[in-house]
């Protein structure tokens, strides 16, 4: 059986000899040449995803004013940023809404503006202390003017996700988009056969410290993502419902609005589309088998979003091939499907990452620490002090 190491792959990248393929290309190669030959031939398979990732935001250090201020309230383009940190540090959350005028503009838009190179209006107040006498400031910042500006997203790149539909009488406005009454449509949100964590389902090669494509630049896996769980159903060796997630980090400088986009879900709120690509090193035949799984082999559960409970049970499972065909059959009815994540952008990202590796701008990293192998997701009960211990 063929075995490959990170060192061997990186040496080939440095020499310009590495064979890099997108997951789509790897699928075709395995179909035409067989798994053994494909494993021998390919060093790296690139993946990509571009979808709504609400749990996103950015840390910014503004630098000190003269005289200095310890900012206790901060607004960026009138969007409140979190400031329970040091004097001139703040975290702007993607879903935070602008004060005053409704819900159409928020943190995600501020981040998109910064990445676009635009000026952002900063207002801050403080209570005035001996070291920080100033009580307010009204100015502008940009990516050029601030010290650090880095994205830190606690939960991105979900490993699979449920398909949303609606059995009720009225339309629902959800984070899965508008769901028409009487199973009028079904929406899904994974790049399926291109999606990073579905191509390394046990996360053998993706761990803390893994270098990734993030928002157009280079980022890193920082930690397990929030709601990371491993006690999930599998089909064909691939999670068939939502499982693992990633916390990711990366410099806003170097990112592009092509891969970071503010989103507004009518009736739900704001979110941010984040583009992530992860290279999968083909260390052995098992890695290639996983990396070459097709949309026909990857399944997602269908959930009725009119049941407003965390306990809603999947109605059925459908494959991404069915979802991507444009319609799925639910209870004998042909239901039109919509994707919330962009397969087009996922393809662009996998191609872009391949190009970066081929041009020696990107080498592979062995994870500093592997992700947990035994995690379940807890729920929040209303209970007493004693019960929680």
């Amino acid at each position: 059986m063929l075995k490959r190491t990170y060192e061997e792959i990186n040496a080939k990248i440095e020499k310009g000899d590495a064979v890099v393929m997108t997951a789509e290309e790897a699928i075709q190669l395995v179909e035409s040449q067989g798994i053994e030959k494909a494993t021998k031939e390919v060093d790296v398979v690139t993946t990509g995803t571009f979808g709504a990732m609400c749990s996103s935001g950015a840390f910014i250090n503004f630098g000190h004013a003269e005289p200095p201020i310890r900012m206790s309230k901060v607004w960026l383009n009138d969007v409140p940023a979190y400031t329970g940190l040091a004097a001139v540090d703040a975290y702007i959350g993607a879903t935070e809404e602008r004060e005053g005028d409704g819900h159409e503009y928020g943190g995600a838009h501020v981040i998109e503006s910064l990445i676009a190179g635009e000026a952002v209006h900063l207002r801050a107040t403080g209570r005035g202390t001996d070291c920080y006498p100033r009580r307010d400031i009204d100015t502008y910042i940009s990516l050029k003017s601030v010290n650090q500006a880095y994205m830190y997203n606690p939960r991105n790149a979900y490993q699979n996700y449920g398909v949303a539909t609606n059995s009720s009488e009225k339309a629902l406005f959800t984070y899965m988009g508008k769901l028409l009454p009487h199973y009028g449509n079904a929406t899904y949100s994974s790049a399926g056969q291109l999606s990073p964590l579905l191509k390394d389902p046990q996360m053998r090669t993706i761990g803390m410290g893994t270098r990734i494509f993030l928002g157009g630049g280079i980022g890193y896996v920082a930690w397990e993502g929030t709601q990371f769980k491993t006690n999930i159903p599998y089909r064909n060796g691939v999670p068939s419902s939502s499982g693992r997630t990633l916390a990711v980090i990366g410099d806003l400088r170097g990112m592009s609005t092509e891969f970071i986009r503010a989103l507004d879900f009518h009736g739900y709120g704001l979110s941010m589309a984040v583009g992530i690509g992860i290279p999968i090193p083909i260390l052995d035949q098992d890695m290639m088998t996983c990396a070459a799984r097709t949309d026909e082999e990857i399944f997602a559960p269908v959930l009725d979003y009119s049941i407003q409970s965390r306990n809603r049970k999947p109605m059925m499972e459908v494959s991404y091939a069915q979802l991507r065909s444009g319609t799925v059959e639910l209870f004998g009815k042909k239901v039109k499907t919509s994707s919330l994540s962009s397969y087009y952008k996922a393809k662009v990202i996998a191609e872009r990452l391949k190009k970066m590796i081929n041009e020696k701008q990107f080498t592979l990293t062995r994870p500093a620490v592997a992700m947990p192998t035994d995690r379940s997701q807890k729920v929040l009960e209303v209970c007493s002090k004693e019960e929680v211990l």
Partner: protein, 134 residues
Amino acid sequence: MSKRKFNLYFIPELVNEPITYILVKDFDLKFNILRAEVKEKGGQLLIEVDGKPAQITKGVAYLQGMGVKVEELNEFVTKDEERCTNCGMCVSICPADAIEMDRQNWKVIFHLDKCIACGLCVSSCPPKAMKLKA
């Protein structure tokens, strides 16, 4: 023969006038009602008219003479290609099948000729790429 789409706005006093009948009888126009609404401030009718170009012009002049506000709909909804991420959220929302996913390149195609100007894609588009023409 040519096909054009018009949004007609009626003041309340005109709601009972048989103007569509006149369009057929006097101007020999075929039309398809795509959307109709009656509200407190009057009515709105979205029609697709099929007929000789000269007859359409005369029909429109008749309507305007009657006090109907006529607005031609060549670009009621526009798609901002730069803003669009090609996710496809609008595809299952569009009741007129005017939006389709191209399964060759996974880009969203907007067929303006099929659009009935309902505006459902505008509110359902997460990156706000579908816009009502101002």
